[in-house]
Subunit: 211 residues, 2 copies
DNA sequence: CCCCTCATGTAAGTGGTTACATGATTTA
DNA sequence: TAAATCATGTAACCACTTACATGAGGGG
């Protein structure tokens, strides 16, 4: 529904080839919208047919030619129209939340490891975002109202701050979940229904586990 | 990839018909996983064929018969196996973030209204979650280690706390975005390139907008 | 010599949405 | 009598992923 528009925004920020777009979708714009190169090439072709973008074949020495795409008037109009069209606040899909509720019907130990892995991934992403923020938006030199060229930067920064806030929220929440899972495992989980793969716990916890 | 598992968890929490599942996917489990009734019926049929769930036709007076689904052993095993399988931390899709970066190439006024709408929707959802929390998890009566039947509740509560944290984060971030957009509009956006649909602003702001 | 990067694509399959369809009962 | 709720489905389509395919050049 909107990968076209993400591509339009990215091409307005800077024209580029399908390959370059695919790389951007691994970082930057890809932090809040994913796309594989296969999908990008397909959509780009459709957008070219519809006159939304124009391709300029750029011969390169020692490398395959690339098609440099830029936004055409029709594409710009399509973007404007989309920007003015209200969209519904999207509903998230959280596999992990399903797993957490599912943990009530399973040994929580495996899920604790899984949640720890996710917590680590979010901490890594946060560090990555913060490094990018320092690099791209650190120590602003100006003061007073910013000029016309700063708007793009400012808005990119606002989006990045959203990513940072999201990762911080996730880390705090996963810590909360881990505490809940630990209580579940220590205080409640004690029968052997699910113990097929778990090595036997130490005797003290087995004692505590008396029904 | 996982709607089957969301259905399994929901049916383990309480058996029900496809219709009832569809209603649950509008609330509760639907807060972090959406599904329409069409999809649910289709998946449910496949799950029945695979022996993951069992259907019991319940005749009702004055209403159409319903198929009461419950989880079979094979389904339970499939869920356990999925719970033990690591999943990648999912990448979010945020249309709104694309729009915000796109706002650099358009009149920000329309986007301000859009962001305000989204802020309102998230505030509403937060209020809804908080009411549900009070209703379902308010004033816990027990103290000390909770019993075996509380695990399901505790984990549901942990997931709900995640929803609450998410909405709070979004509201704070959208306030941040609104501040950025207002600065953009007031300090920077002043030429008439995009003014096709915007009624002329008041003279004082037009004065400030002198290049 | 093998792998990585650059560069572009096709084909097949899965997952999910939207539109259409039916029909009885309860509530306003 | 019109609309909403309960209840189940089919069909067509669109979005997206995964696997496969090619080929040149550079670095270890």
């Amino acid at each position: 529904m909107a990968i076209e528009h993400a591509i339009l925004v990215s091409l307005l920020e800077r024209p580029g080839s399908g390959y370059e777009l695919a790389r951007r979708f691994e970082r930057s714009i890809g932090y809040f919208w994913t796309a594989t190169h296969q999908q990008i090439y397909r959509v780009l072709k459709r957008m070219e047919n519809d006159g939304w973008v124009e391709a300029l074949v750029v011969p390169q020495h020692g490398r395959p030619d690339k098609k440099q795409y830029s936004v055409a008037d029709l594409g710009r109009a399509a973007l404007t129209s989309w920007l003015h069209d209200p969209i519904e606040p999207e509903t998230v899909r959280h596999d992990l939340a399903v797993k957490i509720r599912g943990a009530a019907f399973d040994d929580p130990s495996a899920l604790i490891r899984e949640v720890e892995r996710h917590r680590q991934a979010h901490a890594d992403r946060l560090a990555h975002y913060l490094a990018g923020e320092e690099r791209d938006f650190g120590r602003r030199t100006d003061s007073g109202p910013y000029g016309p060229d700063d708007a793009e930067r400012e808005l990119q920064h606002a989006v990045l701050r959203g990513g940072i806030a999201y990762e911080r929220m996730m880390i705090a929440w996963l810590d909360d979940v881990l505490a809940t899972l630990h209580r579940f495992r220590d205080d409640h989980f004690r029968d052997d229904r699910f113990r097929a793969d778990a090595p036997s716990a130490d005797p003290s916890s087995a004692d505590r586990a008396a029904r």
